[in-house]
Amino acid sequence: MNSAVEALADFKAEPVADATSQAKILLVDDEPKSLYALQELLSTLGQNLMIAQSGEEALRLALKNDFAVILLDVRMPGIDGFETAKLIRSRERSKLTPIIFLTAAADEMASMFRGYQVGAVDYLMKPVVPEVLKSKVAVFVELHAKSERLRESEEKLRRLAAHLISVREEERAHIAREIHDELGQVLTGLKMEVGWLAKRLKDKDLIDKTDSMGKLIDSTVQTVRKIATGLRPEMLDDMGLIAAVGWQAKEFQKRTGIRCRVKLPPEVKLDIDVSTTMFRIFQEILTNVARHSRATRVEIELVVAEDRVTLDVADNGVGISDSDMSGKKSLGLLGMHERALLFGGDVKISGTPNHGTRVGVAIPLKGKA
C-alpha cells in the first residue's frame, strides 16, 4: 500500500501552459473547513478550483461548467453526495464527468457500492492523504486536457472537411458555369454563323460541308453540356432540389437500367446550400447502389416538412453489411455523413442481407423551424 502511494505521489501533472488551458475542478463539501483544506492541498496543481457548499450549488455549477473532475462529499445536508452525483450524471453536459467521493472512514462498504452505481470513478477516505488526493486529481486533469485536445483536433478536421467540401462545390459550379456559358455561347454563335453561310451557298459540296460543320458543333454542344452537368447540374440552380432529384433518378435509370420509383413533394424553393448538400448525398447514394448493390429497383422518397427535408432511398440489392460500413472503402459514406453534419443533419444507413439497403437523410431547414 505504501509503495503504491509513493508511486502515485511521484506522478506529476504536466505543467500548465496558460490560464485558458486551466482545467476546472469542483470541490463540494458542506463544511467550510474541509473545503479550505482541499483548496490548500490542490492549489499547487495550478488549476482553476471552484467550490460549492451544497449539492444544489454543485448542480448549478455543473450546469455551466465542464469540470475535469468533481470531488464530492458524501454526507451533506439537503441533497446528499449520491443524489448530487446522480443528478450531475443525468445531464448531457456532465454525464461523463469523473466524480471522486470523499467519505468518512466510518461509512460502510455498502455506501461505497452505491457511490459507484451513481457514477463515482473513485473513493477517498477522510481524512485524505494529500499525495494520494493530489496525484488522483492530477490524473483526471491530464485526462481532461487530452480529451480537450482530441476534441479540438476533431473539430479542426471537421472544419477543414467542411471547408474542402464548400470550396470544391464552389469551384465545380464556377467551372460548370464557365464551360457552359462561355464555351456554349460561342458554339451557339458559331452555329448561327454557319447557318447563315449555308443559306447563301449554292454548291452542293459546300452545303454538305456546312451541314457536317453544323453537326460537329451540335455534338460539341452536347459534350459541353455533359461536362457541365456532370460538374454541377443546372437543374439544381434553375429548378431546385425536388426537380433535380427527379431528373437525377431518371438519368440514373437510363444510365444503369436500375428502375427508380420516385415520390416527390410539390415543388418548393429550398435553401440552395441545403439543396446542394441533399443532392450530393443523393448522388453518392446512387453511385453506391450502382457499384455495390446488384439491385434492380430503387425507391426514392423526398419529403419537405416544416422544419426539415428528408430523403429516403431503399434498394432491393444485396444489402450493406456492417463491415462494409466501417471498412476502409467507406470514405464515400463518411463524406455523406460529413456533408449532412455540416448542416446539422444526419444520415442513417441500414442493410438487410439480400433484401437491400436503406439510407435515410434528414437535414433541418433553418429559418423555417
Binding site: T188, W196, E234, G257
Partner: protein, 209 residues
C-alpha cells in the same frame, strides 16, 4: 412584328438578329443584355413578341417569364436555352412560354418558331414534343416495358446496351440459362423478336442514355 430579344452574350444576340433578318416582317426593337433590362424594355417599348435566353445574370429563367406573363399576359415569349429540352422544356411551357428552342437548333428552327408564335400558336420542337408526349402518358400500363418486372427491366437494359448473356449473368449474379429465360420472356412481353429490335425499342423509348 416587333421583337424584343434578351441574351447576355453579344455573339448570340448578333446571331439571333442575323437569323431574324431573313424574315423581312421581323424587326428587332430592343436588345437586352440581362433579365432586369429585359423587363425594363418590355415596359418601355412597343413590342409584339419576346425572345429570351433562359439563363441570364439577374432575374431570369422562370422568374422572368412569370413577371412578363403577369404584366403582358397576351404577348408571346419564346425561350431560348443552352439546356436541352428534357431539362427545362416542359416546365418552361407550363410557365407560360409560347415556345422553347435550344440554342443550337435556333438557326434552323427560330424563323419557323417566330412565325408560328406570331400567329398565336405554340412552338414545340420534335424532340420536346416526344418528351411531352411521354410525360402525358401518365398511365404506366400504356408502355409495354412498364409490364416488365424490375429484374426483367434490368436484363432488358443490359441487353439493349449490348451486353452478352454471360456478362449479364455475371453482373447480376444469375446463371446464364436464367438470363436466357429472362430474355425470352422480355422479348415476348415487348412483342419483339430479336436483340436488334430490342435495342431499337430501348432507344426509341429513351430507356438507354
Amino acid at each position: 412584328m416587333r421583337i424584343l430579344i434578351a441574351d447576355d452574350h453579344p455573339i448570340v444576340r448578333h446571331g439571333l438578329k442575323q437569323v431574324l433578318a431573313a424574315d423581312p416582317s421581323a424587326t428587332v426593337v430592343g436588345e437586352a443584355t440581362n433579365g432586369d433590362e429585359a423587363l425594363e424594355m418590355a415596359r418601355s417599348l412597343q413590342w409584339d413578341m419576346a425572345i429570351f435566353d433562359f439563363s441570364m445574370p439577374g432575374r431570369s429563367g422562370l422568374d422572368l417569364l412569370g413577371d412578363i406573363k403577369r404584366e403582358f399576359p397576351g404577348k408571346p415569349v419564346l425561350i431560348l436555352s443552352m439546356h436541352s429540352e428534357d431539362v427545362h422544356g416542359s416546365r418552361v411551357l407550363r410557365g407560360g412560354a409560347a415556345g422553347y428552342i435550344t440554342k443550337e437548333s435556333a438557326p434552323t428552327e427560330l424563323t419557323t418558331a417566330v412565325r408560328k408564335v406570331a400567329n398565336g400558336g405554340k412552338y414545340v420542337s420534335a424532340s420536346l414534343a416526344e418528351i411531352l408526349a411521354s410525360e402525358c402518358s401518365s398511365d404506366p400500363q400504356k408502355a409495354l416495358h412498364e409490364k416488365l418486372s424490375d429484374r426483367e427491366y434490368r436484363v432488358m437494359w443490359l441487353l439493349a446496351t449490348g451486353k452478352q448473356i454471360s456478362e449479364i449473368a455475371k453482373e447480376m449474379g444469375l446463371s446464364p440459362s436464367t438470363v436466357s429465360t429472362y430474355r425470352t420472356r422480355i422479348l415476348r412481353k415487348l412483342s419483339l423478336t430479336s436483340n436488334a429490335a430490342l435495342v431499337h425499342y430501348a432507344v426509341r423509348h429513351q430507356l438507354v442514355g
